[in-house]
């Protein structure tokens, strides 16, 4: 076997995330953020970094962090229902919206809990 594989050398790229913000669907607006990433990073990686480095007030929801078991990070990515933890960042504009047909809690968080499991 070969020891060092040159394919493992990572290249930093930039994704432009257009993120839906708000607490109800009538007063929506989008904020745009540039996020640096390495090949293979997930949209959730980008959002977590964005909260630390740019905007701690952004609301996102996740628990398992890229293992795709908690299923909490579901959102619309470029119009498709996806898990942010397995969707990969791309070096282009990506649009992130909350799930449709569910009450908005805030930003990318929608009310996915059953009625009896919340106040």
């Amino acid at each position: 076997m070969t020891a060092a594989n040159p394919e493992h050398v990572s290249i930093v790229k930039t994704a432009r995330l257009q993120v839906w913000r708000g607490t109800n669907r009538d007063s929506e607006h989008y904020d745009e953020f540039d996020v640096a990433f390495e090949d293979g990073d997930s949209v959730l990686d980008g959002l977590v970094r964005l909260r630390v480095n740019s905007d701690p007030s952004l609301a996102i929801r996740f628990s398992c962090f890229n293992a795709n078991v908690c299923k909490e990070c579901t959102m619309l990515i470029d119009g498709e229902v996806e898990y942010a933890c397995i969707a990969k960042l791309q070096p282009r504009l990506m649009q992130l919206d909350p799930l449709p047909n569910l009450p908005i809690v805030r930003d990318l968080v929608t009310d996915t809990l059953s009625r009896k499991e919340r106040f």
Binding site: A4, E38, I86, E117
Partner: protein, 564 residues
């Protein structure tokens, strides 16, 4: 802002992983009314759901076995520091819980003769570990328990509620205060007993297998409530943690179960076998205890023989493609989506923070030193000593969770009179309200402090430690906890204000982190998962449990001989 939410019942279970859900089921079947709360979603957060494979249980289906042999292996792995009574309860109780889960539709993998298939995990003397294919043991257990807890009229589950303080009256539990995350409203929970099932503090480390909610908050809650903790310096680093190439959609622990099934060769950056340099025989087999394997990998990288990302290679290239597919099923597709082809390339691995052996000191009823406060699962200290045996975390969650639920229910029947004290709760409620919108402006956020803490813990309180680093870390954490925390900026938003949740996470988590750094400084020896470069050997004078409690704002430590 005047509105607050109120819950009133017998038992509050904090944390909805395997231990918490089992505790809720057991408390309810022993007559208690139960609230089961989780910061995230009950049954979907925490560590249990992340568990891919091994669950140790002396069922004796694959070969003759018994709980005494399981206990022997558990005590051996614990390097002399296990509480033997707790370890015995774990080993004896496991088969019953495995059968119970089977009755709740967990489909344990079976061999062709119809018996439950048991595999030999590292450190075990028998084929003892049961699992659910493919790599979905934890998910299957959680699904069964979610179902069970949702059908029980005595259990009320509430997700997205975080507990921030325990309320005491005359030093005994009277309830708790928390936050309903979607609305940021304070929640008062009036109850006779609290069972902490919040898991460990592995999130505090930069490289970790932890869910986002494992920040040691339960340790902070317990210390503030006057409970003692034990052996908190022992934190297990999982040797085969995924390092590179970047992989998402699968837990970074995935290589250990894969090795359990298939073997796999560990190679250094030059492609050489290296385990024999560290006294480990049979590099292709897989029975080396976790602490020893972690040591070998660290030292090989330190010697300049690491892989490109600073770990070692794990290769399955000698295994036929069909055999890989049979053993891993749909997991192969996840590798493919991440451009990983195991027949053509090795992956890089490096130890990763995985499990906290120490925790709240409990007796055989899982009761802490604070009356009415129980702890179960990873947060309960004692059963695993200085190093946990692979496969013992799931039975610990089930057995201790079930037992804590039963004992807490009994405690409630003996302590029926409501103890709730609004005066004692008020400062905790006020703190929540005062923290929303605190220090508006451009000051540092809780997320930034957590980032610093994670790199500090990884760099100074990691798998190999030394006195000056530990002292530096302890002082830095103390400064964060005692002054910088109050200067953090919190957004004013009322709905899903995650900065608010993170502030309280830090408030309790920093106390846990300081306890870990401080305890690691005080244990001047190397034993199990606690390795000191400046004290590289085990020392008999430290064949003792380290207990800690809070006096005012200060953590106080003492060593005590290991109890049988």
């Amino acid at each position: 802002m005047s509105d607050e939410l109120i819950l009133e019942g017998d038992v509050l279970v904090v944390g909805g992983g395997g231990a918490g859900m089992f505790a809720a089921v057991a408390a309810a079947r022993n007559g208690a009314s139960v609230f089961l709360l989780d910061r995230n979603v009950v049954g979907r957060g925490g560590a249990t759901i992340m568990a891919q494979m091994t669950c140790a249980s002396a069922l004796g289906e694959s070969e003759p076995d018994n709980p005494e042999l399981h206990l022997e292996d558990t005590l051996g792995a614990g390097r002399g520091l296990c509480n033997e009574n707790l370890a015995t309860i774990l080993c004896e109780g496991s088969p019953k819980r495995i059968r119970e889960l089977e009755g709740w539709n967990v489909n344990w993998a079976r061999s062709e003769d119809g018996k439950i298939n048991q595999v030999k995990a590292p450190g075990h003397s028998r084929k003892r570990c049961v699992y659910v294919d493919f790599l979905s043991t934890g998910a299957a257990i959680c699904a069964a328990l979610r179902n069970k807890t949702s059908r029980d009229g005595k259990i009320r589950r509430l997700s997205n509620v975080t507990v921030t303080d325990l309320v005491l009256r005359d030093d005994a539990i009277a309830g708790a205060v928390g936050i309903d995350v979607p609305s940021s409203k304070p929640v008062k929970i009036k109850c006779s007993a609290v069972i902490l099932c919040t898991g460990g503090m592995t999130k505090m480390f930069q490289r970790t297998t932890a869910s986002n909610n494992l920040a040691g908050e339960g340790i902070g809650l317990a210390l503030r409530a006057g409970a003692r903790i034990i052996d908190i310096e022992f934190l297990q680093f999982y040797p085969n943690g995924h390092l590179a190439p970047r992989m998402v959609g699968l837990d970074p622990t995935t290589w250990e179960p894969t090795r359990v099934k298939l073997g796999g060769r560990l190679l250094n950056g030059k492609g050489e076998e290296f385990l024999d340099r560290y006294g480990v025989s049979g590099g292709g087999d897989y029975d080396t205890a976790r602490d020893i394997l972690t040591y070998a990998i660290y030292k090989e990288v330190e010697a300049g023989r690491g892989s490109p990302h600073g770990g070692v290679f794990l290769s399955f290239q000698h295994i036929e493609e069909q055999k890989l597919k049979d053993a891993l099923g749909p997991v192969v597709d996840i590798f493919e989506r991440n451009n990983i082809n195991l027949t053509r390339q090795p992956v890089e691995i490096f130890p990763i923070a995985h499990y906290q052996m120490g925790g709240v000191e409990v007796d055989t009823d899982l009761s802490s030193s604070a009356p009415g406060l129980y702890a179960a699962g990873e947060i309960a200290g004692g059963a695993n000593g200085a190093n946990r045996l692979s496969g013992n975390a799931l039975p610990e969650a089930m057995v201790f969770g079930e037992r804590a639920g039963e004992k807490a229910a009994f405690y409630c029947t003996r302590n029926k009179t409501p103890r709730w004290d609004d005066k004692a709760a008020q400062p905790h409620v006020d703190l929540i309200r005062q923290t929303i919108g605190r220090n508006s402006g451009d000051g540092p956020s809780p997320g930034e402090m957590m980032s610093e803490l994670k790199s500090l813990m990884w760099g100074k309180v990691g798998a190999f430690r030394n006195g000056p680093d530990l002292e530096m870390a302890r002082e830095r954490i103390r400064a964060m906890r005692q002054s910088e925390l109050d200067a953090l900026t919190i957004a004013p938003e009322a709905s899903f204000n995650y900065g608010l949740v993170e502030w309280f996470e830090l408030r309790n988590g920093l106390l846990a982190a300081e306890a870990l750094a401080s305890a690691a400084f005080a244990r001047q020896e190397s034993r199990g998962a606690h390795q000191r470069d400046d004290f590289p050997a085990a020392d008999d004078q430290f064949m003792a449990n380290q207990r800690m409690h809070l006096e005012g704002e200060e953590l106080v430590s003492e060593f005590r001989n290991v109890r049988a």
